[in-house]
């Protein structure tokens, strides 16, 4: 039975349907339905890749899924489903408040599934060139989402996003071309550009070319993944986009770019047999974490605060992979999953607050959101506790796993820096959020307040986070172990 092609077709079909449809509830429903289907297909894929031969290929190996891809498919579909659950009501309130036109809402429902289709194609494509243009497609579909509100600031954010993103992707394309050139032999016919093929001939690739290619790809895809110092578009785009889009950008889009980078990292390590690429990942990861921490401490804008927190989490994931022990890579993958469940909840809550208070400046919002929007405040508080890495939530375990593995493998310096950055971010986020959530409201706002807004989406994701924090089903564990093995080169 075909699995990969339906995963791509379901959201694409939903996007096309929304283009033709007139009624807004139908569009929302189509989005939810499509992502519900992809979650189901993702689970089926997950069960399939943990059985021999551990790979699913379709369409003459054009599409290929191993455990790493299956894990990413699951993340993309779960975050997209959560987003589509939240988006319907969110835009109904926006329309009622008159901050967005009906045409723009339609744009959202058309572009979001296309954005997701692009991300699915990135993780399911075998051909590295196809992976590149799929990633470019995600950038192009999300840039109009960032500009959705058409405010001066959102246009500025969109312009920076598309310009820096395109520059990064141009560099990544150079890297992709170099990788292909490394596989070209003087006399043979055109070699295949499939990742699986390149891996099988990794020893024969030109090592200098592969090295040059990895540098280009790291800077290129690193820009899209928001690694410092190429991250400058990230806080702008995340804060100016509508909250459902921020959730998708932060929850999965960054990780999809990271996934593309990882494929090259695996190839480079297999070709060179050295620690070249993982050291680079480690350096950029640490840099991102250290840079994010001070910005979190002094941030005044709620969604920018969350964006910098994402930067820090992406940094941690890179560090986990850069440390390259089986434990830390496993921790990094686990962290990807838990972060994907946590960050959307925070952005949804921020969206509710934005709609009720008409500002994201924290000194104008707080204190006393808990009195004004109790459901939102509770969800935000829980998610913030999770995001800062406190038990009983999973991010505590994944952060501990990475740190433990780091110390155990003798990377004391790196682990200490990571710990310091995590602590700084912990203090920053909890301090900033308690100030706006707790206390007595200064002003009574009665208009535009929707106390139970977004409750189903936030509740569902938090519940999933809690369940998976305590209990990881066997297939999920298997997939992550296998994926960690793929990244670790075993």
């Amino acid at each position: 039975m075909m699995l990969l092609i339906p995963i791509l077709l379901a959201p694409a079909a939903a996007g096309l349907f929304c283009l033709l449809a007139r009624s807004r509830p139908a569009m929302g429903l189509a989005n939810m339905l499509a992502f519900g289907v992809t979650v189901g297909l993702g689970v089926m894929l997950l069960r399939k890749v943990i059985e021999p031969p551990y790979v699913v290929t379709e369409f003459e190996e054009f599409f290929r899924a191993d455990s790493l891809s299956a894990w990413m498919v699951l993340l993309i579909s779960v975050v997209s489903l959560g987003t589509s659950l939240y988006a319907g009501q969110y835009f109904r309130r926006d329309l009622a408040a008159g901050v967005v036109t009906a045409g723009r809402v339609k744009e959202f429902f058309v572009l979001t599934p296309l954005f997701a289709t692009g991300m699915f194609l990135v993780v399911l494509a075998n051909n590295l060139g196809v992976m590149w243009f799929a990633l470019e497609a995600t950038a192009l579909s999300s840039v109009l989402l960032v500009a959705l509100y058409n405010r001066k600031t959102s246009l500025e954010a969109a312009w920076k996003y598309v310009m820096l993103g395109s520059l990064g992707l141009a560099l990544a394309l150079f890297g992709t071309v170099f990788t292909y050139a490394a596989a070209v032999n003087k006399d043979s016919a055109m070699p295949s550009f499939n990742w699986s093929h390149l891996m099988s001939v990794a020893g024969q690739l030109d090592p200098r070319m592969i090295k040059l290619a990895f540098v280009f790809v790291l800077v290129g895809y690193g820009t899209k993944a928001g690694l410092a110092p190429m991250h400058t578009w990230l806080p702008d785009a995340h804060s100016e986009a509508p909250s459902p889009t921020s959730a998708m950008l932060s929850g999965v889009s960054l990780k999809v770019a990271l996934y593309a980078l990882l494929r090259f990292h695996i190839l480079t390590t297999a070709c060179l047999g050295s620690s070249f690429s993982r050291t680079m990942l480690l350096v950029f990861g640490l840099g991102s974490m250290c840079l994010a921490a001070p910005f979190i401490l002094v941030q005044t804008n709620l969604k920018r605060l969350l964006a910098y927190s994402s930067l820090e989490h992406v940094g941690l994931i890179c560090v986990g992979i850069g440390l390259n022990s089986p434990v830390t890579i496993f921790g990094a993958l686990l962290h990807m999953g838990y972060h994907a469940l946590t960050k959307p909840v925070l952005f949804f809550a921020a969206g509710n607050i934005h709609q009720s208070c008409h500002t994201l400046q924290m000194r104008l919002i707080g204190p006393g959101i808990a009195k004004l929007l109790p459901v939102t405040a509770v969800c935000m508080g829980l998610a913030a506790v999770a995001a800062t890495g406190l038990p009983p939530f999973g991010l505590f375990f994944s952060e501990m796993t990475v740190l433990n593995g780091g110390f155990a493998a003798g990377h004391t310096f790196v682990s200490t820096v990571v710990l310091a950055a995590l602590l700084a971010a912990f203090c920053g986020i909890l301090y900033q959020l308690t100030r706006i959530l707790l206390g007595v409201p200064k002003i009574v706002r009665t208009k535009d307040v929707a106390p139970s807004a977004g409750a189903p989406a936030m509740g569902l994701m938090l519940a999933a986070l809690l369940v998976f924090s305590i209990w990881l089903p066997e297939p999920l564990l298997q997939v992550m172990k296998r994926a960690a093995g793929i990244i670790g080169g075993k």
């Binding site: 051909n127 243009f133 799929a134 840039v143 001066k152 141009a170 150079f174 050139a181 003087k186 806080p235």
Partner: protein, 223 residues
């Protein structure tokens, strides 16, 4: 192909690649928007020429004709037409308004060319076609980046991005002698087309909201 044919092809490609570099430098110094668009079209025409030569002389590279054709239709005719229309529609003035003056820009780009040659030096043995094509590709990348930062108008930044893309395509042909697989080339082609349309939409909206196309006015978001 025999060696004299191969020599001819190699020389033609070197000539056209050098032409692409010259045009890039002309774009750095000249000041009119519509001229910039025409120069880009000319540069793309040379790229299409290179692809056509590769397809003609190389035995198993029939699909490179596709690349040549698509470049011709897309980058020589369609995109310049689209950008021209956009310029007319939003009625901006023609002056490009660079941040650095042309003498300084020219000097800097001379440096970039040198840098391109230094970076490409270890890899010259890997070039399948032409001489120094990889160096030119990397120079196109560097000067393209510079063009992007040195221009205030949104459309000129788009043009700079497109010249970088021309550089990538040149590198692809030079390093492999038959470009990338057709599906990848097609994908890249459509992405570039869509990218320019999306950028056009954004330029239009920026122009309407800010009543200017000066991207240095986009500076509210900080921290």
């Amino acid at each position: 192909m025999n060696s004299s044919e191969s020599e001819l092809a190699s020389q033609l490609i070197t000539l056209l690649a050098a032409g692409m570099l010259v045009i890039q430098l002309l774009m750095v110094v000249q000041r009119m928007l519509l001229t910039s668009i025409r120069l880009f079209a000319l540069q793309s025409l040379m790229l299409a020429g290179i692809a056509a030569i590769v397809a003609f002389f190389h035995n198993n590279a029939i699909h490179v004709y596709w690349v040549a054709g698509l470049t011709l239709i897309g980058k020589v005719f369609f995109l310049p037409w689209l950008l021209n229309r956009l310029v007319r529609r939003i009625q901006i003035d023609q002056e490009i308004a660079p941040l650095l003056n042309s003498t300084a820009s020219m000097l800097l780009c001379g440096g970039f060319t040198l840098l391109g040659y230094i970076v490409a030096r270890p890899f010259t043995s890997l070039e399948r076609l032409g001489n120094n094509t990889l160096a030119i590709a990397i120079t196109l990348l560097l000067t393209g980046f510079f063009l992007m930062f040195n221009r205030r108008k949104a459309i000129t930044q788009v043009l700079a991005l497109l010249t970088v893309e021309n550089g990538v395509m040149l590198a692809a042909v030079a390093l492999t002698s038959y470009g990338m697989p057709l599906v990848v080339e097609l994908g890249i082609f459509f992405d570039v087309m869509v990218a320019v349309m999306v950028l056009g939409i954004l330029v239009y909206r920026i122009r309407e909201t800010f009543s200017s196309m000066d991207v240095s006015k986009l500076s509210q978001l900080k921290g």
